[in-house]
Symmetry: C2
Subunit: 364 residues, 2 copies
């Protein structure tokens, strides 16, 4: 098992990463002083529940904890105020008090929803994360939790740091191959923005990671969480530095929005977005290697590097303009200056980006 | 004008109190660096809107601010997730971004709702409070914001400190007499828990306060806010000391719940609750004066000191047991030990309280 501390002063918390660590969940709860007199609530989704809920409930029950389950439908639609109201009703019926905790067992949707319940129930109770996807290594660091509004994603939320994160790599073994690759896309991003050595390690271990080798996953998730935690520690409330985590996301979010559900999942869209950012770097005068290496690594992971040709460039540009990262009229763009280094550019002209989107449709 | 700082480290903020200070609202916004490039949203209720909304919108517009209004129905029902979703939709349509603010123009309901919008919109934007009731001097200090769930009041919320509070005593001139007295009940409470001199001043100035004399109101609100801010500064997240603010509230909340809407408003219920707490003090061996003085002051303000006889004692006791201050099985009670001093007792037996409720029905 590896352990990492996300350093946020009084709100610091550990991430435990390892094969089979859920078996010791009772001991982790005891170590963190979670109360046996107050009830707790596990929030999960229907798919994760099938694989892991009985185990988690059973182990916590054996350890003497009172725990109720709440299962949502899988997918983004569960991140709504209506579901929030329903979870809170169940929490009230179960008698959750200020010493209770909300346990998120699942991926990003479950983490975001359960985290916002924990942030707002009685004005904030403790929150434990048990991520069951690779992508969640990203969302489990930094405390950003939220639900959606019919008019905007993640617009109602909070910064609420968990008590601890239990990352059991054995829960990843049942992930569909497409989700594995897409999750690894964020891991590669963490290398590209901060750590050239880790980027090289990712490239060398692409096959092991895609094949879900437990040792490789443990190390890769540890390093990915570490980069994110360094960035978040320096900018908890997303004022400046934290923007670098958006490498590939400006184009990526726009592609996701235009392509619609299932043609491109998040990790695939940002893979294409990272190639776009690398092309922009070259155009701004940085080394051609940035583009070559970025693309080569992503392809080694079987991730897409080409924008689907049928997506309309006008609509992509429009989606980008609506993105909240463009507030105040300035276009904010994360540009690599070398492998493992990026800068925040506020002078990027929309024409340049349009040109790059066009080029991305012609990539091999 | 008087100015008070609520001391909460990086989250400290000023409360400005004075007659007609809204006239300078543009200058206050400029002083606090609220942006003219980002739109702002005023949340108010239908009654307050009639008296004060055009003035606030007009003055901010003249000062160069882009401000939209959002008006809710008066009353507790507006503190719901459905209204929250609606406000957020309006905020999105108006283009509010991370540099925008939510302005609460109204009493406790508007402050709680607007404050939770500010706490959760884009994970937290700035919040300005313009209280228009006397009772709101209590809720405008401490940052507790929330909406209700069908099963429980104030259960979904946050601690979100305002940027500033603009307390214009001229807005209080249109308050109904009953709301004036009920609001002053919390002011008296702030004297009773912390400051015997202020308690004496309240008694001497009862007629002026009830008559809405601007000088007396300014000083009384200043002192009331000051006591609360000292307590909150020492215990922002309501771990221990902050409980003393609940003097009179344990019995008071139960009476409110059983009496139902309009027979007893909040300030009246806690007036009776404070007499109950004073009786408990005497029973526990503290000076008889505590009871005599507490009751005399409340009566000078025309506040009730007797529990309506028809309220069922069993139901009152049951309501108290459901109150979240009783979590963990212990009955927590705030007991005065002298005028201007209280202690937190965790050893109060339900039988004693039942006996006091019975006595309260026979008070003169």
């Amino acid at each position: 098992m590896m352990e990492l501390t996300v350093d946020l002063g009084a709100r610091s918390y550990p991430i435990y990463i390892g094969q089979g660590i859920i078996d010791n969940i009772g001991a982790f709860f005891e170590k963190h002083g979670l109360g046996k007199n107050s009830p707790h609530l596990v929030v999960t989704d229907e798919h994760v529940a099938e694989h892991h809920l009985p185990r988690v409930l059973g182990l916590l029950g054996e350890a003497g904890y009172k725990v109720s389950p709440y299962t949502v439908n899988a997918g983004e639609k569960s991140k709504s105020l209506a579901v929030l109201e329903d979870v809170v009703g169940v929490a009230l019926d179960a008698g959750l008090d200020r010493k209770s905790s909300i346990i998120a067992l699942g991926g990003g949707v479950v983490g975001d929803l359960a985290g916002f319940v924990a942030a707002s129930y009685m004005r904030g109770i403790r929150f434990v994360q048990i991520p069951t996807t690779i992508l969640a290594h990203d969302s489990s660091v930094g405390g950003k939790v939220a639900v959606n509004h019919p008019k905007a994603k993640n617009i109602i939320g909070a910064f609420h740091q968990p008590e601890m994160v239990l990352y059991d790599t054995s829960t990843l073994q049942t992930l569909p191959p497409r989700d594995v690759r897409a999750g690894l896309s964020e891991m590669i991003k963490h290398g590209l923005i901060w750590d050239s050595e880790f980027t090289a390690w990712c490239e060398d271990n692409a096959d092991k990671l895609v094949g879900l080798d437990p040792e490789a996953l443990q190390y890769g998730l540890y390093q990915g969480c570490k980069v994110k935690s360094i960035v978040v520690s320096q900018d908890e409330k997303e004022n400046d530095l934290r923007a670098i985590l958006n490498l590939g996301h400006t184009i990526g979010h726009a592609l996701e929005a235009v392509a619609g559900y299932n043609e491109l999942v998040h990790g695939e869209a940002i893979s294409i977005g990272m190639v776009g950012a690398a092309k922009l770097a070259v155009q701004l005068g940085y080394s051609e290697d940035i583009y070559t290496v970025t693309k080569r690594i992503l392809q080694k992971f079987g991730l897409p590097t080409r924008c689907p040709e049928h997506l309309d460039t006008d609509r992509i540009m429009e989606a980008m303009m609506h993105d909240k990262k463009f507030s105040g009229g300035n276009m904010v763009y994360i540009v690599p200056t070398a492998i493992g280094k990026v800068e925040i550019r506020k002078d990027v002209k929309p024409e340049w980006v349009r040109n790059i989107v066009e080029q991305l449709k012609r990539e091999d």
